[in-house]
Symmetry: C2
Subunit: 119 residues, 2 copies
């Protein structure tokens, strides 16, 4: 008896392979304040979070767009769990592709946030 | 006798102050392959270079646009020398604002370029 490969369901969302992830795409994904905020929160929590977890100052459709940009650039992985779309940082993939980049970007974002608070 | 402040000429190009430079703007500037290539070349040469130095695969007006995006985001400084517009990385400003970011981004770009060559 052979083990069948898992059949992708229509609810499986497309993700780039590591080979397909481009630095320019990652930087574009993080160049928007809402998307950068989502990534900072995912990094701070360290677990997968539902889209509904995030308190973003945009409409539902814009929010969906932002998550899609993050997924299609390879920054996050999105998986359905029941009716919830769960989001997780592709930390290991990014670290392999661009060593140190994610942590340096997160530190820069924190640096900027602190600078604004102090101003 | 007081020393007069330098009078900006019409040829002085506007640059953001350090306080005005935003991480999102820097990432947006570097999210385009042509602009990322310009920044890599400026970093590799380590000196100011004229726009005409760069062999970019775009029209003159698109090239001018790319340099403007880099200037307005705070990534480069542009100064006229005679009829040439000279471009220099704002390495010190960026390092103060976002420690380690520029070097990590340049390393990531090199990593990606090497990966493509090996493939």
């Amino acid at each position: 008896m052979t083990t069948a490969a898992p059949v992708p369901s229509s609810r499986d969302l497309p993700h780039p392979t590591c080979e397909e992830i481009r630095l320019e795409g990652v930087l574009h994904a993080l160049s928007d304040p809402v998307r950068l905020g989502i990534v900072r929160e995912l990094a701070a929590e360290g677990v997968a979070l539902a889209c509904s977890h995030f308190d973003v100052p945009v409409t539902k459709s814009t929010s969906t767009h932002h998550f899609r940009v993050l997924r299609e650039s390879g920054v996050i992985r999105q998986i359905y769990e029941g009716t919830a779309k769960m989001n997780a940082l592709r930390r290991d993939d990014l670290e392999t592709l661009f060593p140190g980049l994610l942590d340096t970007l997160l530190a820069a974002a924190t640096h900027q946030a602190n600078r604004r608070t102090e101003a």
